[in-house]
């Protein structure tokens, strides 16, 4: 990679060069050294690792348990929905592939596909008010996140500052578990399980630095919103029931890219 821009090189020549005398003039002008300009145009393949934090608003796990025909039943009808928050956190790691095009004005447009494995887990204990002191454990686990995004940025030589946005997907597993006593020591275990593949949107921003021939590193923040989703929660013994989730996620990722096909 060339460190000097053509403009800088030209300016240096003008300032440093000694005055030219007629006797010094060559018969033929020497070839001007040309410093090829660095460009982000090209495609890349890379990997990333980082942290992820998710927030879920869950409505209504209490009703799911207490109004179940085999647990609380009709006599335990819960009044009104209640929403509880379940936070998840964990590590994301994965890969990405993308292509960029740098315009002469240093604006860069690109597209990227990314996939990450995740360890985001979180749980919360909620009270079952109709059968104190019973509780239910609400758990959420997310293990796979993918995204297809466009990015727009501005290049400053070997640095690229950019924003991105697009569509994202997340695979999550939910569970509501515990033992229902109904105030009478019934001792009925429950284990409601649910699965979802969520579709949402994402926006983010970051900075990328071309630190070596063909290689760059970047630091990026992304926000994801997967909207609201009602999952079927199934208990093999007690039957199914609905549970709603509103989910957002934030990530900070450090990545490295290898630029293909003679990126310079």
């Amino acid at each position: 990679m060339n460190k000097l821009s053509f403009a800088t090189a030209t300016a240096l020549v003008l300032v440093i060069a000694p005055p030219v005398r007629a006797a010094d003039l060559p018969l033929k002008a020497p070839a001007t050294p040309f410093v090829e300009r660095f460009t982000w145009t090209g495609c890349y393949l890379g990997a990333h690792v980082g942290g992820a934090w998710m927030r879920n608003s869950v409505t209504d796990p209490v009703l799911l348990v207490q109004d179940n025909a085999n647990l609380g039943g009709p006599g335990f009808t819960t009044v009104g929905p209640t929403t509880v928050g379940v936070n998840q956190d964990g590590v994301v790691a994965g890969g990405q592939i993308g292509c960029d095009y740098q315009f002469p004005q240093n604006f860069v447009l690109g597209i990227e596909g990314a996939a990450s494995g995740g360890t985001m887990k979180g749980s919360r204990v909620v009270a079952l008010p109709d059968s104190p002191p019973d509780t239910a454990l609400v758990s959420v686990k997310t293990d796979f996140v993918t995204a297809l995004t466009g990015r727009a940025g501005y290049a400053v030589d070997h640095w690229l500052f950019y924003a991105r946005g697009g569509v994202a997907w997340a695979n999550s597993k939910y569970s509501v578990t515990g033992t229902f006593n109904g105030g009478a020591g019934l001792g009925l275990p429950f284990d409601f399980e649910g699965l979802s593949i969520r579709t949402g949107w994402t926006v983010g921003a970051g900075a990328e630095w071309a630190f070596a021939q063909d290689w760059s590193a970047r630091l990026e923040y992304d926000y994801y919103d997967f909207g609201s989703h009602t999952a079927t929660m199934n208990d093999i013994v007690n039957g199914p029931g609905p549970l709603s989730f509103k989910t957002t996620m934030q990530t900070v990722k450090l990545g490295v890219n290898f630029h293909m096909w003679g990126w310079q």
Partner: protein, 514 residues
């Protein structure tokens, strides 16, 4: 694995619903089958400097060159990048001696000064996005996170190390994400806690070298791998056999022989092999299952397998005469496996113990392949037959099997025609037949209570389009794709013709390798 990929991907496993204490003929659950996830890896292309079509007639079906690349331990170089960060002059000389085996492909000019070349880690990724339609509903309710039919699923997604580590050691190792089973596939038992979506997948680490002993020209090596037949050079053996990509949702026949992926990624094995005079291939390996905790830590649900095994011997012999554009192979392979079934596959009692008695499965296979390279096409004919002798001491004692001994047979006959260089189109057809002893305890079909056999048979047809195969065109050596349309037709499914057609499957998929 939950994963698949089995035959794709994850590989290569089959989801089998285990009957407690039972045999490896597992009742089929969801066919999130693990088919061989196989691969034409861009990292191999970068290392060898060859276009994908040099090694593959189709992904992952191998050409003669591809088989020798694998034989030599994934170490052959020739590309614009250094083969390994440890390359040495001695290594280069040794490899030069092997180059005669590489005469199956047009030579590609390698950079003159190898020391000036950079090294890029031989890492690749793979993703398959597929649309599945079955004649009857694909997924039983509750279907979350899928629909009852007509699903589009990204599965599997894999990361690979594929290539040389040193001049004589190379590896193919895969980690895979497989989409989860639908909600209806959960058993509701404590065993569900061991289901995973991420797991290790096919792994094959090799040492390879050459020697001359009198008139014998030897390539020899050692393989350490985790799936019997994943190390094999031909696409007639189970791990890399057609179909190379399968739906993760469509049901597949419940019965299969043990060597057909039952212990994929559940075992560790080591073996020695040699190719004599570029004609006779011989291998002997031994496998043993990983312990419960090791399997679980690697992302495999131990209870999706039938149990734990003693040391299992595996053999392979193949004769591959070749003349001009013709290559023929006839061979045999097999394995003897003693399986100790789980005491409690539901984990209700919290034990991961196995019973002292075991079931013995003796698998004997014969296979053949004819491959012809035309001016602009490859024609490949393949056939394999596996006969499994089952001595069910443990299962018969626990009433999981009605007979003390059973037999199971698996037959595949296939033709593949790959036409074109770039913009290659591959037509593949296969007849398959699984048949065996009637056993009312082992084989149950919800659609037909009278069905008590493992019998399934039918046809598969696939047309695939591969944009980059023979030249260093756009994408090479970083990216390739395979677009496939596959149809599977069942005459009989799990012992019955009733409802068999409901399992007929259309699978349209896009397979990306990066």
């Amino acid at each position: 694995m939950q994963t698949m990929c089995g035959r794709i991907s994850r590989c290569l496993q089959r989801h089998k619903l285990c009957v407690v204490g039972a045999v490896a003929i597992l009742a089929g659950c969801f066919a999130i089958s693990f088919a061989p996830s196989a691969q034409a890896l861009p990292s191999f292309a970068r290392q060898t400097g060859q276009p994908c079509g040099t090694c593959h007639t189709d992904f992952p079906a191998l050409t003669p060159f591809g088989r020798r690349f694998k034989l030599l331990g994934y170490t052959a170089g020739g590309g614009e990048f250094r083969t390994t960060p440890f390359s040495s002059k001695a290594g280069a000389d040794a490899r030069a001696e092997l180059d005669k085996l590489r005469g199956y492909a047009k030579a590609v000019e390698a950079p003159a000064d190898g020391s000036s070349r950079g090294w890029v880690p031989p890492i690749s990724m793979m993703a398959i996005v597929g649309y599945t339609h079955t004649q009857g509903p694909t997924v039983a309710p509750p279907t979350d996170p899928y629909k009852a039919n007509d699903n589009v699923v990204l599965s599997p997604f894999s990361g690979f190390w594929g290539g040389a580590i040193t001049d004589h050691v190379g590896a193919f190792a895969q980690v895979t994400y497989s989409a989860p089973d639908p909600l209806s596939a959960l058993s509701g038992t404590p065993a569900d806690q061991f289901k995973h979506t991420w797991s290790w997948d096919n792994a094959d680490v090799r040492f390879a070298s050459t020697a001359s002993v009198g008139p014998l020209d030897l390539v020899y090596g050692i393989t350490a791998n985790n799936n019997p037949t994943v190390q094999d050079l031909w696409n007639t053996t189970p791990a890399w056999s057609f179909p190379y990509a399968v739906s993760s949702l469509a049901a597949t026949p419940a019965a299969s022989t043990v060597i057909e992926g039952t212990f994929a990624a559940r075992v560790a094995g080591v073996g020695a092999y040699t190719m004599i005079n570029d004609l006779l291939y011989l291998e002997f390996s031994a496998y043993k299952t990983l312990g419960f905790n090791a399997q679980n830590s690697l992302g495999m649900n131990p209870f999706d397998g039938p149990g734990l095994t003693d040391v299992s011997p595996y053999w392979r012999a193949a004769l591959e005469p070749h003349w001009g554009p013709h290559t023929l192979m006839v061979g045999t392979f097999g394995m003897v496996t003693d399986v100790h079934p789980w005491v409690d596959a539901s984990f209700v009692t919290g034990t991961t113990a196995t019973v002292p008695l075991s079931d013995r499965f003796t698998d004997i296979g014969v296979d053949a392949q004819y491959q012809y390279q035309g001016p602009n096409y490859w024609l490949t004919l393949r056939g394999s037959y596996i006969r499994e002798f089952q001595r069910l001491d443990a299962s018969f004692a626990s009433f999981a099997a009605a007979n003390p001994t059973n037999e199971l047979n698996s037959l595949k006959l296939q033709a593949s025609f790959a036409y074109g260089a770039d913009n290659r189109v591959v037509f593949t057809g296969q007849y398959f037949n699984i048949w065996g002893t009637s056993d009312p305890f082992l084989f149950v079909n919800a659609n037909d209570p009278t069905a008590t056999t493992p019998n399934s048979n039918g046809w598969m047809a696939e047309i695939a389009y591969i944009p980059f195969s023979a030249s260093k065109s756009f994408g090479w050596p970083w990216f390739n794709a395979r677009i496939g349309l596959q149809y599977i037709y069942y005459n009989k499914f799990d012992g019955s013709t009733i409802g068999a057609h409901d399992n007929n499957t259309v699978f349209l998929h896009a397979w990306f390798a990066m």
